[in-house]
């Protein structure tokens, strides 16, 4: 639209810094990763090439594709557990808590941990679940266990618990927002028409809150999928995730081409999920009119 706009010169001035930044620190770096993913490792560094060996290795070597599968599995479990906890919570908050003061206070209570260090939140569970940890010592102290168990930490269970703890606010936020947008009279109308509370939940509230659920699930899944700190802190040998492998390729293994190829795979998976979720949410929105 050619209408009243800033003069061309100020427009350029406004745009130049962000544009240069985006090209230099976003576009080019992504391009470099993409390029490296086709290069060859040659001790001690790597050389330019154009070959698909790194990708072939990822999908042929069980060491790599199994990590991918495991990462997907853990991310799914975290997403499911978060949804299971977050949805009822958000539902009760929106539809059962009468006072709006109490509601926003409880909502803030769930969101607040986001502001508290991510690292601390992972660390806390290490101190709680460890064999020398709070929970074990509590169980031994109270006589429930005779000796500390190491079943609690350094496995997929501890990973799922910790990651759920870290990322659950991202699930609560969009669901809460979606539920709050549902007009009360719609729920009352359902009640008026003889629909039971459970029926209203299934037939009215759940479908209307779906965009929020999708958004929350996308956040939680993607964040978990790319995490490498929690696995390092609370994951054991069977808790290694894709980002950890990338880290080690860039670190000790010194195989940047393979690391880059893994990063490209991770990038593509995340982008596909975001695109899918975008479409689903859009479809839902259209469905609602």
């Amino acid at each position: 639209m050619k209408g009243f706009r800033l003069d061309r010169l100020p427009g350029l001035a406004v745009l130049s810094a962000p544009l240069v930044w985006a090209v230099l620190f976003l576009f080019i770096p992504y391009l470099i990763i993409f390029t490296y993913s086709f290069w060859l490792k040659k001790y001690p560094t790597f050389i330019p090439a154009f070959q698909f060996g790194n990708y072939a290795q990822i999908f042929a070597d069980p060491q790599y594709y199994q990590v991918l599968l495991r990462t997907g599995k853990i991310a799914l479990m975290v997403t499911a557990l978060s949804l299971l906890l977050a949805y009822p919570f958000a539902y009760f908050l929106v539809f059962k808590v009468k006072s709006s003061r109490v509601r926003s206070l409880l909502y803030m209570a769930v969101i607040a941990p986001l502001w508290v260090s991510y690292l601390l939140r992972a660390y806390i569970w290490k101190t709680i679940l460890g064999s020398e940890g709070v929970l074990n010592s509590f169980l031994v102290w109270t006589g429930i266990l005779s000796a500390p168990t190491d079943l609690l930490l350094y496995n997929q269970f501890s990973m799922v618990v910790t990651l759920t703890y870290i990322f659950i606010p991202f699930m609560v936020m969009p669901i809460f927002t979606a539920l709050e947008k549902i007009p009360r009279n719609l729920v009352e109308a359902a009640g008026d028409l003889g629909v039971t509370p459970w029926g209203a939940l299934a037939k009215v509230i759940w479908p209307l809150s779906l965009p929020g659920v999708i958004a929350g699930a996308t956040f939680t899944f993607c964040l978990t999928f790319g995490d490498f700190i929690a696995p390092m802190l609370v994951g054991g040998p069977d808790g290694v995730m894709i980002a950890n492998v990338i880290t080690s390729q860039y670190g000790a293994a010194l195989n940047w081409p393979l690391g880059s190829a893994l990063a490209v795979v991770l990038l593509i998976i995340v982008l596909i999920i975001i695109e899918l979720s975008d479409r689903l949410q859009r479809k839902d929105r259209i469905g609602l009119g």
Partner: protein, 368 residues
């Protein structure tokens, strides 16, 4: 007199397809109160925004006081605007809002303060200077918007539907007030509205717009009494529009037949016998001359049956049907007590007549 604004064959096309303003030519005289009138989407707002500099014409030129301002940005034009949503800066006090335009001129602080005081006095808001916009009522905000726009004494004041956000009573009061202000300041006012009553009450001249073009420009009474097209006839006031065929053209009258009725219209148009035309009659110009009798109606008289009566307070509207099946509206003033009782009852068959002078004649081409 040299016009203050010349709009010279201006067109504005959105997205290369949608013609918002289509080859408009218009001169606006200094000191005039001119109104651009039309339904939404007729191009009136786009035209106003081009005068302000918010939109650039795709073709044509705009001259302000003889100077070409077509491509001048808004901040270099000596025009100011009252926005439809007022657009008062929410973070500034009323006084600072009003002072904004003067501060851009780098005037002396004391000078600005004095002028702001004067202007707020003028719009009756001297006591609200330190309030924030959201603390004022709609009508008060309207006055602030007005004060802010006139404080620079622009060559032209643009008003974009200035009264549309006000309720009916306030709107009427503000119409009068704006009119007073116009006279007092002697500025040129260009107003956009879709409200025909507002346009009729306030303007020296009205420009009716339709599909991006000027349908007709003229004084309110010209527009009302001599509409150039059926479109104008219907947009400004209400008109009964009856289709007919020209049966005779003479020096003194054009005779039109409509289903056995005869109209003798003033010879203001060139038409030929046999041509299909439309006759326009304002409902209030129809007089009841009596009940239908056996005698054939004379020229400019219509026989019809009253189907409904709508009481309007100072008048009554009769919804009638002609024997040809066409509906016909007729307004009767209720000036005297008992006039309501005297008005024809539902089902009565009455004869209505109009002066030849009050008839408008349109050709099929005028349908726009």
């Amino acid at each position: 007199m040299k016009p203050i604004i010349e709009i010279d064959h201006v067109s504005r096309i959105f997205g290369g397809r949608i013609v918002a303003v289509d080859d408009v030519r218009l001169d606006i005289a200094e000191g005039e109160f001119i109104t651009l009138l039309g339904p939404s989407g007729c191009g009136k707002t786009t035209l106003l925004r081009m005068l302000a500099g918010f939109e650039l014409p795709d073709r044509g030129a705009i001259r302000l006081d003889g100077q070409d301002v077509t491509h001048l940005p808004p901040y270099r034009r000596d025009v100011n605007m009252v926005f439809q949503d007022y657009a008062l800066f929410p973070h500034l006090t009323i006084a600072r809002n009003v002072a904004f335009g003067l501060e851009r001129l780098r005037l002396e602080r004391a000078d600005i303060t004095r002028k702001v005081d004067e202007t707020l006095q003028l719009v009756g808001l001297a006591d609200k200077a330190d309030r924030m916009p959201h603390q004022l009522s709609g009508g008060q905000r309207q006055r602030v918007a007005l004060a802010r726009a006139i404080i620079r004494r622009p060559r032209v004041l643009l008003l974009d539907e200035p009264l549309s956000a006000l309720d009916a009573n306030l709107r009427e009061a503000m119409q009068v007030e704006l009119k007073h202000l116009h006279r007092k300041l002697g500025l040129t006012f260009v107003m956009v509205t879709h409200d025909q009553t507002e346009a009729l009450v306030m303007s020296d001249r009205i420009v009716v717009m339709h599909n991006g073009r000027v349908a007709q420009a003229g004084t309110p009474s010209e527009l009302y009494d001599r509409p150039a097209s059926t479109y104008v006839a219907n947009f400004v006031g209400t008109s009964n529009l009856l289709k007919g065929v020209v049966s005779d053209v003479s020096k003194s009258a054009i005779t039109v037949d409509h289903a056995g009725f005869k109209f003798e219209c003033p010879p203001l148009r060139s038409v030929a016998p046999g041509q299909h035309v439309i006759v326009g009659i304002r409902p209030e110009k129809l007089q009841i001359t009596g009940l239908v009798n056996g005698v054939a109606p004379p020229a400019n008289a219509l026989d019809c049956e009253v189907e409904e009566r709508h009481f309007h307070g100072n008048s009554i509207r009769l919804r009638c049907r002609l024997s040809s099946g066409e509906p016909l509206l007729c307004d009767q003033q209720l000036g005297t007590t008992g006039a309501l009782k005297a008005a024809p009852a539902k089902g009565e068959r009455i004869r209505l007549a109009a002066d030849a002078d009050s008839l408008a004649l349109f050709t099929e081409d005028d349908r726009a």
